[in-house]
């Protein structure tokens, strides 16, 4: 029977242990306790029937090498485990020393890298960097013990069944698919409805999610959000858009909620703000205070009205203030709205503060100059500034074609701007234009 030279066996065992250690580290941060906890009684064999995502060559090269050394006939499985413990412990100790010398794409930086780093790298790193590692392995092992069992020796089925084989996970991957079957955190996040396929495209978010422990990291924050009043169905949306809420410290989160409550936001409004603006609680108290102060000062609104505006559009507290300042300048200077008119518009349609400048000016230009609607009428119906330009244009031209475009309330056959903009097509055609939908479509094709 072929007996590989001893140093190859050594390296096989070494690689096995490194591999085990790597998978342990990837699973959870407590590698030694994991191995120890796997000891007694029930052993589980994980054999997955669905296709592995590895290239076939990798599978062949590793499993052939790894399994025989794992399936060494040992009279006592605890002895094998002891050897593993020793090896892993020494690895962990040396790991702390090796760490600073490693380059950034080391073995702990796993998953969604855009390039799939080959499997050989982390291991070769170890072999190169830790010349001392190899020596430590050698001292940790009893040299008389190891070559006793050949890597290619046959063992019985029972031993094979009771042997501990951890999950064969790739150390680096471009997708979370490879880890989702084994990771508790990811499985629970899927149950919540988190869109992992979107999150894994963001840089480093996938690794971050895998490193989280469900019991210690995720659960306290979910409980906190529930206590805040966020609906269960919204938790998935929240985490899909802001996964970093799971790494924010609980003291900070509580401090920020306490600040909002101190500013007399009701509990329900805080809950609705958090569920509609997922990044809200990641911003510091100072920043939120700054923004609230800015809105109150610039708009000149009372505290209650500022609260209403912010509660309706919570992302005002999240985004940059420069765009809001520019929009306010446009409304005052270009469009010529007075202070009190602007206040009224913002309280009815807060979205005007974060709207696209070009679109806002285009709509205003059309409404004021082409449709000849005066300022006071626009202020009465600010929702026209929120509508789509094409919609306003088509409907206005249709009414003009039918000679019904009359927007002055003083004269007869007055058409309300609100109805012009907010009604759906059918209702608009029948009520406002007294025409059929087909006519409207034919007219659209003449534009």
């Amino acid at each position: 029977m072929y007996r590989p030279p001893s140093h190859v066996t050594m390296s096989c065992v070494f690689i096995t242990d490194i591999y085990m250690a790597l998978t342990c580290i990837q699973h959870c941060q407590r590698c030694t306790s994991l191995l120890r906890s796997r000891s007694v009684g029930i052993t589980t064999l994980q054999y997955s029937t669905d296709a592995q995502h590895w290239p076939a060559a990798l599978w062949n090269s590793f499993i052939v090498r790894v399994l025989p050394s794992v399936l060494q006939r040992s009279p006592n499985p605890s002895q094998t485990r002891q050897r593993w413990n020793l090896g892993v412990r020494s690895y962990c100790e040396s790991h702390a020393k090796v760490q600073p010398s490693q380059t950034k794409h080391g073995n702990t930086d796993e998953l969604p890298e855009t390039d799939m780093v080959s499997y050989q790298n982390p291991v070769s790193h170890q072999l190169i960097d830790g010349g001392m590692l190899l020596k430590e392995w050698q001292t940790a092992f009893d040299l008389d013990d190891a070559p006793g069992h050949s890597a290619l020796e046959e063992i019985s089925h029972e031993e094979a069944v009771h042997m501990n084989i951890p999950a064969a996970l790739p150390p680096v991957s471009i997708s979370l698919k490879d880890y989702v079957n084994e990771s508790e955190t990811l499985g629970k996040l899927i149950q919540l409805g988190v869109q992992l396929w979107k999150l894994e495209q963001r840089p480093n978010v996938g690794s971050m999610l895998l490193r989280l422990d469900f019991q210690t990291d995720v659960t306290p924050r979910l409980v906190f959000l529930k206590q805040l009043g966020v609906d269960d169905s919204r938790l998935g949306y929240l985490i899909s858009h802001n996964p970093f809420i799971l790494t924010e410290s609980l003291e900070n989160l509580q401090a920020r909620v306490a600040y909002l409550r101190s500013k007399k936001f009701s509990a329900e409004s805080v809950a609705s703000m958090v569920s509609r603006a997922p990044y809200l609680l990641n911003f510091s108290v100072k920043r939120m205070d700054n923004r609230l102060g800015f809105y109150q000062q610039q708009l000149g609104l009372s505290a209650q009205k500022t609260r209403d505006v912010v509660a309706r559009l919570p992302r005002l507290l999240c985004g940059s203030l420069e765009t809001v300042k520019e929009n306010l300048k446009i409304c005052k200077l270009e469009m010529g709205f007075r202070e009190n008119e602007l206040q009224h518009i913002v309280t009815v349609i807060p979205k005007v503060l974060t709207a696209n400048k070009r679109k806002l000016t285009q709509i205003f230009d059309y409404i004021h100059n082409t449709m000849n609607i005066p300022h006071d009428l626009i202020v009465k119906f600010p929702q026209v500034l929120n509508a789509k330009y094409l919609r306003i244009k088509e409907r206005h031209l249709f009414l003009q074609y039918l000679d019904k475009a009359q927007y002055d309330p003083a004269k007869p056959n007055y058409i309300c701007l609100d109805k012009l903009v907010s009604l759906p097509d059918e209702a608009f055609c029948t009520e406002v234009a007294s025409a059929t939908l087909k006519d409207f479509e034919l007219f659209q094709k003449t534009m």
Binding site: Y47, S48, T49, D50, V161, V194, E394, K445
Partner: protein, 342 residues
């Protein structure tokens, strides 16, 4: 067994036309339609969740190494790697191709194709199908980009212009471009075959050619506004605006273009074009079905023996076009009067 989403995708593979509104870039339109079609495809019911088998060794009371008892139980566990939240929606991108493009200023019929039908779209794009445009012009102004949105350069009077003069100028312009049609068709003019083709209106440029107007007509004239109807080949919308400017110059005045509207692109007319409320997958499937059935009906009518000029598909396109537009008669009259006089 194909998945439901794949079946919906196959239904969507076809050519259809939409009405592009003015002021919107054609790429935005194409992206909007792609998003809407993806919504329709991914709304189909997903396949059943996959399961994987996990073997668990049952705890037996005598856990001796030498025991011959191998009690394993199989458990069927959901395979989360194929869960839609992990792998994403089934379709994340589909290939929507655009035929002859329309610039931001113009509006009208825009032909799109999905998936496999992009090949047919390329064939349609390369074949010399004519397109119908409606141009709205205003006399008395000249701008730098020939349209009313440009910077004003010149103002002129237009009182001397009558309908008669305008029509004469249009006829002259059409005649000058007809010559180009004959020269680029690469057919020997002194043959009987050439004459027969010309009579049927099947003379078309072969290969590259400059923009050629095959028909030009005045629809509406009320100074300073007037409307023209143009049938042309290989044109761009800017060329059409320039034509309008040249019309103004010929009349010793100036003109700008206020609107360019494509009413027909090959066999696709404005009648079946989808407006922006109907840019959804169900309406698109209906439009594709309509186009297919109309093609089948016209193919049944036009089964003729092959001729040597042009490919079979090209001739069929032209025959369909002729059936649609009815301009073969007009072309015949123009050609027999002008072309063979030289």
């Amino acid at each position: 067994m194909a998945r439901a989403s794949v079946r919906v995708f196959h239904k969507l593979e076809g050519l259809f036309s939409i009405y592009k509104p003015p002021g919107v870039h054609w790429k935005l339109v194409r992206d909007t339609i792609e998003t809407n079609l993806l919504k329709g495809i991914n709304a189909a019911p997903p396949p059943a969740p996959r399961q994987r088998v996990q073997f668990l060794a049952e705890p037996t009371s005598d856990v001796a190494e030498g025991s011959n008892e191998l009690a394993l139980s199989a458990a069927s566990v959901p395979a989360l790697a194929h869960h839609p939240l992990v792998s994403g929606p089934e379709f994340q991108h589909i290939g929507v191709g655009v035929g002859h493009r329309l610039d931001v200023f113009s509006s009208g019929v825009l032909v799109l194709g999905v998936g496999q039908s992009n090949k047919a779209l390329t064939d349609l794009y390369r074949s010399h199908v004519t397109r119908d445009y409606t141009l709205e012009g205003e006399l008395g102004m000249a701008t730098d980009n020939f349209s009313h949105t440009g910077r004003l350069i010149e103002r002129t009077t237009y009182d001397h212009i009558t309908r008669d003069k305008l029509e004469r100028v249009l006829a002259m312009m059409q005649g000058s471009t007809q010559k180009a049609l004959l020269t680029y068709s690469k057919v020997d003019m002194s043959t009987q075959g050439a004459y027969e083709l010309a009579v049927k209106g099947e003379l078309r440029p072969d290969g590259k050619s400059p923009p050629i107007m095959t028909g030009l007509r005045l629809l509406h004239f009320q100074p300073p506004h007037f409307t023209l109807e143009v049938q042309c080949l290989n044109e761009t919308q800017r060329y059409l605006c320039r034509i309008l400017h040249e019309v103004g110059l010929e009349l010793r005045s100036t003109a700008v273009c206020k609107g360019v509207r494509r009413t027909r692109d090959g066999p696709f007319t404005i009648q079946h074009a989808l407006t922006h409320q109907h840019w959804t997958s169900t309406d698109v499937i209906q439009a594709i079905g309509q186009y297919c059935s109309s093609r089948k009906a016209s193919k049944a009518k036009h089964t003729q023996p092959g001729k040597d000029t042009g490919t079979a598909s090209q001739r069929q396109e032209m025959a369909e076009e002729a059936a649609v537009t009815g301009d073969s008669h007009r072309l015949h009259s123009v050609l027999t009067s002008k072309a063979f006089g030289s």
